[in-house]
């Protein structure tokens, strides 16, 4: 996927789901382009495993496709999709607890499954290794999936103020780690 740096808008996601439900041509592609990264980032944050996250992305989109005809918009389509992804991730944990990978192994897997740069992989690896689970989820759900902080607080079952401070602390931590990682790379 190429970088777009756009958070998906609820109205666009809603319209893509309606398109998918009615069999509209190109609707699935639109939906994938809108939510694919968000679902993958979220699944990666939970499973910390590239292949498991890829499976969850695949299964989530199939599930959304199947459920689309019965979908009723409440203005929060991304929260609905993330809930589907969460249940699939938990299903994976129940089947077999995934093994956490080393940073090197993670970097190798990310490199083999995408055309990403070293910088991209460094940031994603740091996000997975340096942040707590709540911090990772807060960051990807806001920065990638575009969920509102209050939706994330509800998802994590924590007060809004706590979520906000986790989010800001996580971004600060990431900034420092990336800076540190790049300094190290420049020295070698």
């Amino acid at each position: 996927m190429t970088a777009k740096c756009v958070k998906p808008r609820s109205a666009d996601v809603d319209s893509a789901i309606v398109g998918v439900a009615s069999g509209e041509e190109g609707a699935l592609e639109r939906l994938y382009a809108l939510v694919g990264s968000a679902v993958y980032a979220y699944a990666l944050s939970l499973t910390k495993n590239v292949y498991d996250a890829q499976d969850v992305l695949h299964d989530t989109l199939i599930k959304v496709y199947e459920s689309a005809p019965n979908y009723t918009s409440q203005g929060k389509p991304m929260a609905w999709i993330i809930t589907i992804a969460k249940n699939l991730c938990y299903g994976k944990f129940r089947q077999q607890r995934t093994v956490n990978l080393t940073e090197e192994e993670l970097d190798r897997q990310l490199g083999s499954t995408s055309n990403s740069s070293v910088e991209d992989r460094l940031l994603v690896s740091k996000c997975l290794s340096e942040l707590s689970e709540d911090e990772r989820i807060a960051v990807v759900l806001h920065a990638v999936a575009g969920l509102k902080h209050r939706e994330i607080a509800k998802h994590l079952n924590i007060p809004l103020a706590t979520e906000l401070s986790k989010y800001n602390r996580a971004l600060e931590k990431l900034k420092l780690k990336i800076q540190g990682g790049q300094d190290e790379k420049n020295r070698t």
Partner: protein, 482 residues
């Protein structure tokens, strides 16, 4: 979007594998019947719903003629959101959550709104701008971080509006590196809140919060005291009372940055009991409260068999102790009955009164029955301290109260006669026929040099009054004696 946030977004986008083909091939073909399931919905139910919607539309169009403003925009107010800090502003919204108008409810509110025109703006944008203006004008900062959000709306809309507004406030303040504390409440159109708001020129939201605090601790505060406080102070008091319920929620912690701080207050209180005592030695509870017109830290702990409740002036760096109470921690076992003289001797021992001075001290003793045993209340003055003991018939010390004693008459700068006249003038607002001649059993005491405690009787009424030495402010309670 922040730079680091953008990087996160880009990087996760770039590492996402392209699995579209595999998804596409695994998606079951959408058969016409599946699509038909949706069209099946166009049954009688849907037809009726469509007719109802059409009717609603007609009604809306007709009504909108009534509510169209001069600009041609729909100006019907569906809900209101009031923000109180010290500035108070009211945001009126239409049913699409667009701003109809923003009203200043006090002079500070007017200053905050300035020349900004919000008509037709989104709620988020409006709240962001108003909070930004409060930050710029120094009404909100790390030492004053509380915002009261009062929402008047349907129950279904209430949650959504509180969610939007709280998030926007927290976000805007976190940009200014301030952790927000938001008190949100559902505004009920009660007579008492409306009356209070009109009488004191405050918002109905603030009046409702004050009513709530008064209900939680009816004997502790007066309306006159609370209306003068800012939302941050009211929030600090509310935190200590734990008044959250289904129509009022508190998020975050109100800042006590304007005061001496909890740690210092605890240290002062502990030092008073034992100079070598530290917070690690005892289990300390500390909350803020408002007592006799002063913000105080209320420090509670148990040490050496005693339960202490010490109030430390929160506004004074020197940390004056303005309240000191201790009582036995837990009931002591019953023992042999003591005589009144033995109980008096016990109190003198605790007050460190030497044997030779005891005979010259006048002690007032009252007996009472409680929990099946006799309790003695002893009051006397020794040196510049007025003591009040509660001791049971077995010699168990139930409580000890020490107050600074500044002499009988005149007390402070006022004579007893002046105090009586001032108190009567206040009480006459409720009992116009009361005169000094008709009153009896006056008792006037000065507590810690800050408050006069005044008691007197009139007919079958017993009055308890408090007068602040500094401000002269008087509050009173009364009860009918059976």
């Amino acid at each position: 979007m922040k730079k680091i946030e953008r990087k996160v977004n880009e990087s996760f986008n770039n590492v996402t594998p392209d699995t579209l083909n595999s998804i596409r091939s695994d998606c079951p073909t959408r058969t016409p019947s599946t699509v038909a399931t949706r069209s099946k919905n166009t049954t009688w139910g849907w037809k009726i719903a469509t007719c109802a919607l059409a009717l609603l539309l007609v009604v809306t169009v007709v009504l909108s003629g009534v509510f169209f403003g001069k600009t041609g925009k729909i100006s019907a107010v569906a809900s209101t959101v009031t923000l109180d800090v010290n500035p108070s502003v009211e945001i009126q919204l239409n049913s699409s959550r667009r701003v109809v108008r923003v009203n200043a409810l006090n002079a500070d509110g007017k200053r905050i709104i300035g020349n900004m025109d919000f008509e037709g703006a989104q709620l988020e944008v409006t709240v962001n701008a108003l909070i930004g203006s409060m930050i710029r004008n120094k009404f909100l900062d790390e030492s004053s971080n509380s915002v009261l959000v009062s929402v008047s709306a349907d129950a279904s809309e209430y949650d959504a509006l509180v969610g939007i507004v709280s998030e926007e406030i927290s976000m805007r303040l976190s940009e200014a590196t301030v952790d927000a504390s938001v008190v949100s409440q559902w505004l009920r159109d009660t007579d008492s809140a409306n009356q209070l708001a009109t009488e004191y020129g405050i918002s109905v939201g603030k009046a409702q919060l004050i009513n709530k605090i008064m209900q939680s601790a009816p004997d502790k505060y007066t309306v006159e005291q609370l209306v003068k406080l800012k939302i941050n102070e009211l929030n600090l008091i509310a935190e200590g009372l734990d008044i959250s319920d289904d129509v009022l929620t508190q998020q975050g912690t109100a800042s006590d940055g304007k005061y001496i701080g909890r740690d210092k207050a605890i240290a002062i209180a502990l030092e008073r009991v034992n100079a070598s005592l530290t917070a690690q030695d005892v289990n300390v509870k500390c909350k803020m409260d408002f007592d006799d017109g002063v913000m105080v830290y209320e420090v509670e702990f148990v040490y050496d068999g005693w339960k202490y409740e010490i109030e430390v002036d929160a506004t004074n760096e020197a940390g004056n102790i303005v309240g000191f109470e201790r009582e036995v921690s837990g009931r002591q076992p019953a023992g042999t009955d003591l005589t009144e003289e033995e109980i008096k001797a016990l109190a003198f021992d605790i007050a460190n009164v030497p044997e030779e001075e005891r005979a010259s001290i006048s002690v007032s003793i009252e007996r009472d029955r409680d929990d099946g045993r006799t309790e003695y209340e002893l009051k006397f003055v020794y040196g510049d301290v007025r003591y009040k003991f509660e001791i049971d018939q077995y010699g168990n010390i139930l409580s000890v109260k020490k107050e600074q004693f500044l002499g009988d008459t005149p007390v402070g700068q006022l004579t007893n006669e002046q105090i009586k006249q001032a108190v009567l003038a206040k009480v006459q607002s409720k009992f116009p026929t009361i005169t000094l001649d008709g009153t009896r059993e006056w008792e006037i005491e000065l507590e810690f040099g800050q408050t006069y405690e005044i008691e007197f009787s009139w007919g079958r009424y017993e009055f308890e009054c408090r007068m602040n030495v500094q401000s002269g402010e008087i509050t009173f309670e009364y009860e009918l004696d059976d």
